[in-house]
């Protein structure tokens, strides 16, 4: 079973939830799909690290074979190619590695060359197998990296998704069986929450809500969940001790019994079993 942890905005506590769920789940995988800023490893501190480079294909052009027909340039719907001085130039951060230019070129002037865009870091934290996608700085698309990371998730897996509701989030949550939506009870939090809920329902996923940093229930969020038939599974109050755990890079569920209980209950409600 794959559980995706999502939140509309950064800072809502998505990584906090994902790491703590993994910590109480026994034998499981924790997959950090937030490849631009993976920080689950700061808490899980995986040991016995192994790294695997991940590459995506980038077209290369042979000026000797290119006749300048520009079929490739016209074909590329991402407009990653511009024909200049006898051959196409490719903009790697715009290219989606679709392979189309390679297919349409009538003279075989296009080669597909692998280019490293980041790495997977594999390690263990007790029973938890920790899989972290790390995108190289300057790379715009982490999609191939997310795909490789999710592919390695076996058995009960917690997917820590990137914040927001754009393509990388879609890629991370696509294979999930359940979406845990982490919400902050504020007006700004609610706006982003609605967007991420929309994405999860577009994907046809079963969803549940974890409200984090709650002082008092926030009316509009409660109303929205009730009307959408979204179950609120647990509520985490504002808590100094938990904040101290986070600041110290520790896992609340491993330090504070009440968090071990809360996340164990949460996992049972989701149906991850124990």
């Amino acid at each position: 079973m794959k559980i995706a942890c999502l939140s509309g905005k950064g800072g809502a506590g998505k990584t906090f939830a994902a790491v703590n769920l993994a910590a109480v789940a026994g034998e499981c995988c924790y997959v950090d799909c937030d490849v631009e800023e993976p920080n689950g490893r700061l808490f899980l501190k995986p040991e016995g690290l192994e790294t695997l480079p991940v590459s995506s294909l980038l077209p290369g052009f042979d000026p000797g074979l290119c006749t300048g027909c520009k079929k490739c340039v016209d074909f590329c719907r991402f407009h990653a190619l511009v024909y200049v001085k006898g051959k196409p130039m490719v903009f790697s951060e715009v290219c989606h590695s679709c392979g189309g230019c390679y297919l349409v070129c009538p003279t075989g002037a296009v080669r597909e060359e692998p280019r490293t865009i980041g790495m997977l870091e594999l390690g263990r934290h007790g029973d938890v197998s920790v899989i972290t996608g790390v995108l190289d700085p300057g790379e715009a698309s982490g999609i191939p990296l997310i795909r490789e990371a999710v592919k390695r998730a076996k058995g009960l897996s917690i997917l820590d998704c990137p914040p927001g509701s754009a393509c990388p989030v879609m890629e991370s949550a696509m294979d999930a069986d359940y979406c845990l939506l982490v919400a902050e009870p504020t007006a700004f939090g609610l706006h982003n929450f609605k967007m991420v809920y929309e994405l999860a329902s577009l994907l046809g996923k079963e969803c549940g809500v974890l409200i984090n940093k709650q002082d008092a229930p926030y009316g509009p969020l409660e109303d929205f969940c009730r009307e959408a038939g979204l179950p609120i599974l647990e509520r985490i109050p504002f808590d100094r001790e938990a904040a101290e755990c986070i600041a110290a890079g520790e896992i609340a569920a491993e330090k504070l019994p009440r968090y071990r209980e809360l996340f164990t209950r949460l996992l049972e409600k989701i149906g991850g079993g124990l």
């Binding site: 991402f78 407009h79 511009v82 024909y83 001085k85 903009f91 715009v94 715009a140």
Partner: protein, 116 residues
């Protein structure tokens, strides 16, 4: 030498953006012409499409208020020179260029690819 300038709707003033300018003014050997910018209505990748258009037209000197990083890379590869527009009217920019009064543009803004 062929000079290009992004033109606004009125076909007289310099357009503040390059990729989505409605027209381009071309000037070569004292002859001026105006062409529609095929990238003006592009859904995405307007910068690359406008760059391709200017390269295909054989432009050697571009005068513009701003220019994106990627397009600048294309222009560099094509051996084009880029100058910063300093006037409202395209004709004034052309005259200023001829008198050697325009400065090279060397600040390029980042791209806005797709929905990012």
């Amino acid at each position: 030498m062929k000079i290009a300038l992004p033109l606004d709707e009125d076909r007289l003033s310099v357009c503040p953006v390059l990729a989505r300018a409605p027209y381009f003014l071309f000037s070569a050997g004292g002859e001026e012409s105006i062409e529609e910018n095929p990238a003006a209505q592009a859904q995405g990748g307007a910068g690359m499409q406008a760059a391709q258009f200017l390269v295909d037209r054989g432009v050697t000197v571009l005068i513009t208020p701003r220019c994106g990083e990627n397009a600048a890379e294309v222009f560099k590869a094509a051996g084009m020179e880029i100058f910063k527009s300093a006037n409202k009217a395209a004709a004034d920019d052309l005259a200023a260029y001829m008198e050697g009064k325009l400065e090279a543009l060397n600040h390029f803004h980042g791209g806005f690819h797709g929905i990012r």
